[in-house]
Amino acid sequence: MSVENLKAYIESGVLELYVLGDLSSEETLQVEEMAARYPEVRAEIDAIEQAMEQYAMQNAVEPSADVETRLFEKLGFSDLEEQEEVVSNQPVYTEEPKIIRLDGSDGKVRTLRYALVACVALLVMSVAALFITYNKLNDAHSQIASLNLDKQKFAGVVSKLEYDNKGLNNMAEMADSKEWATIRMQGQAISPKSKMNVYWNKKDKSVLINYVAMDLPKADAEHEYQLWALVNGKPVSLGVFGKADSTSNEAILKMQTIQEAQAFAVTLEPMGGSVNPTMEKLTVMGGV
């Protein structure tokens, strides 16, 4: 290459582009070839490079210090191992908050466990209280039942007393009265110990019997007593009555009216009474 051609080559600007890295790989190879062959080209390139280096130095900007630290950390250089350890320790430290967080949830679990225990204890106490209450309620129920029984007993006693009282009052009244005639009937063959009173009103001829003022053997379920009046030797039925301890509250029972009678008698007859008295079953009898 002639001197003129070489000068033209140098002045073409291709060497500047070479230094700036603005050439294709093919062009780059050409420049390198030229530089190897011609010291002038080499020198020119060197001058351009130095100029650009100077230019860069003049325009230098200081990066922040931690770029260097990070760089050598990244490359893992030996005298930065300590720093690396600190860095590698950091995950351990950052794990600690995790442990604390787990502790926190442990605390939660513990709290829940306490709550569960408390709940179970409460449940047991509730069941116990319920059981005790249930027992007390049962006691109360049985007390109420027994009290009711007592009450009924007393009521029974009271009604019996009232019943007896009525009968006794009536007996007293009858005894005092001049209006009423009391006919005492005495026990006959089948029941010598029996006795019974009949009260006969002299004015209106009504007849009463008093359960309190009678002592007859207990009649069975198929029989009841029948009161008769003997009128001129003929028996006239005055009605039937139950056994002495009748469930009826009335101690006094009104029988059929009879105008005249010489005697009264009671026989034991089948239920509902008979038309004619069964003489074999004559229990008591008494004359007026």
Binding site: E11, S12, G13, V14, E16, L17, V19, L20, G21, D22, E32, A35, A36, I45, D46, A47, I48, E49, Q50, A51, M52, E53, Q54, Y55, A56, M57, Q58, N59, A60, V61, E62, P63, S64, V67, E68, R70, L71, F72, K74, L75, F77, S78
Partner: protein, 183 residues
Amino acid sequence: MTALKKSTLTEPELVLALQSKDQAVLKTLYSMYSSALYGVISRIITHTELAEDVLQETFVKIWQSASQYDNTKGRLFTWMMNIARNLSIDKLRSKDFKNSLKNQDIENNVSFVDEQNKVTFNPDILGVKQLVQNLKPDLQSVLDLVYYKGFTHVEAAEKLDLPLGTVKTRIRLAIIELRRNFN
């Protein structure tokens, strides 16, 4: 100035140590050239965090591809600077960078856009007022596009609506101007 930090190691010594994976030399290299390289990077990428990321990547690449450096083809600094410029331009065209733009607030964005569109240097950033004054604006604009904006000279010709030859000439003239200033 950072240039004064230069240690007594000569370039061949640096290269030898670097290629034999001497960890200490990378630190020397960093203290010598990090700010010069960052000067280039931070003018291409104005976002500080991203620019610092690129600086870190640059030194990682220098360390990892040291064996590829051939001192017969050029100066060590030229090689390093081209790594820095290429990584910066890659970053500028990457998703990361576009995302970071979105994350900037309006105020920063305005200044950023200004910065991006500016063809002349901000003297405060540059710190070499004299240089700006000495370099003619039409020379400066071409150099900026290629040196700081990652344009190829073909793209710069399109951008400035100039013939390709004119762009090449202006780049050469600008660099000759710089050489005259420094020598």
